[in-house]
C-alpha cells in the first residue's frame, strides 16, 4: 500500500522537479495519508461569447472538475471565494496569468481556460498550469453540444490526473446502482461520478437488482422480477430499449459480460440449487461452469477473460473461489474470515476486492490473485459492501451504512481516502463502475 503513495510522490516530484526550479518544494510525500493534499485552484472558464447564452458554463465546468478532484483524494480544491484574479478580466495563457495572485493563496496548480457558445455548439479550451513554474503543463480543446460540458470537464479531470500521476483518471465514465430513493421497491439509476446528472433508468416498479455494464458502456445487464421470476434483462442506455436475455425458471442472477463482450457469466437455478453457467449474448447456454450442491454466485471476470472469481459456500460459509472460464476445478482464494463474498477483479488484474464479515460487521478487503497480501480497506464505519473498481483500477466504489441509510462512497485502492458520492433519500447499493466512455 505504501509503495503506491511513494510512486505518486515520485511521479509528482519528477513533474515538479523536471522544470528545475528552486520554487518547487516537495516536503515529504505529496500524496498520501500523512501529507497535505495537493492544493489546486480551478478558475471558472472565461466566456469569449457576447451575450448571455451559456453564461454559467465556465462555472459549471470548474464545479465538475472540483468535484472530481475531491473524489480522487490527494487534491485540495481551493475555495473559489479566495481567488484574486477574476476570470473575465484576466488571461488564460502562461504569459497573461498573474501567477503571484495564485501562489499567494497557496495554489500549486491552476486550471484556467475559455469557451465560446454558438447556438448549441460549445468550444472549450482548458489548461493546467504549474503555479511556481509559471508554466503550462497540459491543455485540451473540446468541441461539442452545450449539453456535453460535463463530459468535457470529466475528460479534463482525467487529463489532470494523468499529469500528476502518470495514469489517466477514471472520471470519463458512468456509475450504475440500485436505489430505493423513489419507490418502495428498487430501480436502477445511472449517473456520472460527480453525481450531477442522475437518471432513473428502469421503471419496472418491482424488485430490480445487480446492474453490470457491457464492455462498451452502452448497455446494462440486470435482474428484474417484473415477470414474477428473477429474469436477466439488458437495457440500452441511449434508446432505453429493454430485452430479456435469460428467463430460465428460478434465478437468472448476477449476469456479467466477459471482457470481449461475447459471453455472459450467470447464476442459474435447478430446484433451489444455484450454479454458474456461461451463456451467449442472446442467453443461449454455452458452458456449465459449476455443478454441485452449494450456492455459487457473484461472478467477476479477470481482465484477460481467462478466469472467473465467484462466491461459493461449498466449504461451509461463503468464500471466494477462482476458476477457469473454460471450465474445470475451482481454487479457493480466501482463507481468513468465515464469511467472504462479492469478489471484484481489478482491471489491472493483480488484486481482487471482496467483502468480509468480521465481528458482525461487513468490510472491504483486497487480496492478490495468488491469495497473499490481504489488505483491509474499511473499518469501524458502518457496513461496507458491494465493491466495484474504477476503469483505471485505482479506486473502488462501494455502499456503506456509515451515515445511516446506505449510500455510495469511493475509496482509493489502499483505503486511504473515502469520499461520499451519493446523497438523498433511500438506500443506494450495488454500484457498478463502467469502463471509460469512448
Amino acid at each position: 500500500m505504501n509503495r503506491w503513495w511513494l510512486f505518486l510522490g515520485v511521479v509528482l516530484g519528477v513533474v515538479l522537479a523536471g522544470a528545475g526550479s528552486g520554487h518547487a518544494q516537495v516536503r515529504g510525500t505529496i500524496f498520501g495519508p500523512d501529507s497535505r493534499s495537493y492544493p489546486v485552484a480551478i478558475a471558472p472558464l472565461k466566456s469569449l461569447s457576447t451575450g448571455a447564452a451559456g453564461a454559467d458554463i465556465g462555472t459549471r465546468f470548474a464545479d465538475i472538475i472540483g468535484r472530481d478532484l475531491t473524489v480522487a483524494g490527494y487534491f485540495k480544491v481551493l475555495d473559489r471565494a479566495a481567488y484574486l484574479e477574476k476570470p473575465d478580466a484576466s488571461g488564460y495563457t502562461a504569459d497573461t496569468i498573474n501567477f503571484e495572485s495564485w501562489s499567494v493563496i497557496g495554489a500549486l496548480a491552476l486550471v484556467k481556460g475559455a469557451y465560446t457558445v454558438e447556438g448549441d455548439n460549445l468550444t472549450l479550451e482548458a489548461r493546467l498550469f504549474d503555479v511556481y513554474q509559471r508554466k503550462l503543463l497540459t491543455g485540451r480543446r473540446y468541441h461539442g453540444p452545450v449539453a456535453e460540458v460535463r463530459r468535457m470537464a470529466n475528460k479534463f479531470a482525467d487529463e489532470i490526473m494523468k499529469q500528476f500521476t502518470g495514469d489517466r483518471g477514471p472520471f470519463d465514465s458512468r456509475l450504475a446502482f440500485v436505489s430505493t430513493r423513489d419507490s418502495r421497491l428498487s430501480e436502477i439509476y445511472v449517473t456520472s461520478i460527480d453525481e450531477g446528472d442522475l437518471q432513473q433508468l428502469t421503471k419496472g416498479q418491482t424488485v430490480t437488482k445487480a446492474p453490470s455494464w457491457s464492455p462498451d458502456s452502452r448497455s446494462l445487464l440486470y435482474t428484474s422480477f417484473k415477470r414474477h421470476n428473477p429474469d436477466l434483462y439488458s437495457i440500452d442506455l441511449l434508446s432505453g430499449r429493454e430485452t430479456v436475455i435469460s428467463q430460465r425458471q428460478g434465478l437468472n442472477l448476477g449476469g456479467k459480460y466477459s471482457p470481449d463482450g461475447s459471453l455472459i457469466a450467470l447464476t442459474v437455478e435447478d430446484n433451489g440449487n444455484s450454479d454458474i453457467v456461461l451463456v451467449d449474448r442472446t442467453g443461449k447456454l454455452v458452458r456449465r461452469l459449476t455443478d454441485n450442491w452449494a450456492i455459487d454466485v457473484s461472478s467477476s471476470w479477470s481482465p484477460d477473460g481467462k478466469q472467473i472469481a465467484f462466491c461459493s459456500n461449498r466449504s461451509g460459509g461463503p468464500q471466494i473461489y477462482v476458476m477457469s472460464s473454460g471450465g474445470g476445478e475451482a481454487k479457493r482464494l480466501t482463507f481468513t474470515g468465515t464469511n467472504n463474498t462479492s469478489p471484484a477483479w481489478s482491471p489491472k488484474g493483480d488484486r481482487i476486492a471482496y467483502v468480509s464479515r468480521l465481528d458482525g460487521g461487513f468490510n472491504l478487503f483486497t487480496v492478490k490473485v495468488d491469495g497473499s497480501d490481504v489488505q483491509q480497506l474499511t473499518q469501524g464505519a458502518g457496513d461496507n459492501e458491494d465493491p466495484s473498481w474504477s476503469p483505471d483500477g485505482r479506486y473502488i466504489v462501494f455502499s456503506s451504512s456509515r451515515t445511516g441509510r446506505r449510500k455510495l462512497f469511493v475509496t482509493d485502492a489502499a483505503g486511504a481516502t473515502q469520499v461520499q458520492l451519493t446523497h438523498g433519500g433511500g438506500d443506494d447499493t450495488s454500484p457498478a463502475w463502467s469502463r471509460w466512455l469512448e
Binding site: H228, G250, G272, S274
Partner: protein
C-alpha cells in the same frame, strides 16, 4: 395478465370475508371445509404473494392458511419446529388437493443481495422437497426466492432477522 391475476386475488379476498366472516381460523387443518359447495373457498383465501402485496403497500406476509417456517443465519436446514410446521402444512395441502401453492424463500438483510437470492432459493427448495417427500404432488408447488428484498420486519436486530429468515406459502388457488 399480472393485473388480471391480482383482480382475481382481490375478489377472492372479498369472498373469504363475506363467506366466513372471519379470517382468524385460517391455520393448517382448520380451513373452510374443502369445497362443500361449488367453490373451494380456501383456495381463494390468499391475499397474494409477498411482492404483489408490497407493491400495494401491504406487509409482505399475509395470514394465509399455511404457516411460515424459519431458518438459522446463512442456513437452509429444516429444524424440528420447521419440520413440524411443514407436516401441518402438508396435511392442509392433502385436505385441499386441488390447490396450488407458491413457496417463497426469504432472508435477513445481512449478506449480499446475490447470495441471499440464492439462499432464498435453497430455503424454498428445501421446503418444497420436504412437502413432496410427505406426499404432496410436486406439480402443485412452485418456488420463488425474494432474497432479502421483502422483509417482514425492518429493524436491525436478531429478533427481526429471525422473522425475516423464512419460507412463506402463498395459496394460488386451483
Amino acid at each position: 395478465m399480472g393485473k388480471r391475476l391480482l383482480g382475481v386475488v382481490v375478489v377472492g379476498l372479498l369472498f373469504t370475508f363475506v363467506g366466513s366472516g372471519c379470517s382468524s381460523s385460517k391455520k393448517p387443518g382448520a380451513g373452510a371445509g374443502g369445497g362443500a359447495g361449488g367453490v373451494d373457498e380456501t383456495g381463494l383465501g390468499s391475499t397474494g404473494g409477498s411482492l404483489d402485496r408490497t407493491k400495494k403497500g401491504l406487509a409482505p406476509g399475509d395470514e394465509g392458511p399455511l404457516t411460515d417456517i424459519h431458518f438459522g443465519f446463512d442456513s437452509y436446514e429444516l429444524d424440528e419446529p420447521a419440520r413440524t410446521t411443514l407436516r401441518d402444512n402438508g396435511n392442509w395441502l392433502k385436505d385441499h388437493p386441488k390447490t396450488k401453492v407458491e413457496v417463497e424463500g426469504h432472508c435477513d438483510e445481512r449478506g449480499t443481495v446475490e447470495f441471499n437470492l440464492a439462499l432464498g432459493a435453497k430455503r424454498a427448495g428445501a421446503a418444497k422437497e420436504y412437502l413432496v417427500a410427505l406426499g404432496v404432488a410436486a406439480d402443485r408447488l412452485t418456488t420463488i426466492s425474494y432474497g432479502e428484498e421483502l422483509p417482514l420486519c425492518h429493524e436491525h436486530t436478531e429478533e427481526c432477522w429471525q422473522k425475516n429468515r423464512r419460507a412463506h406459502f402463498v395459496v394460488l388457488g386451483e
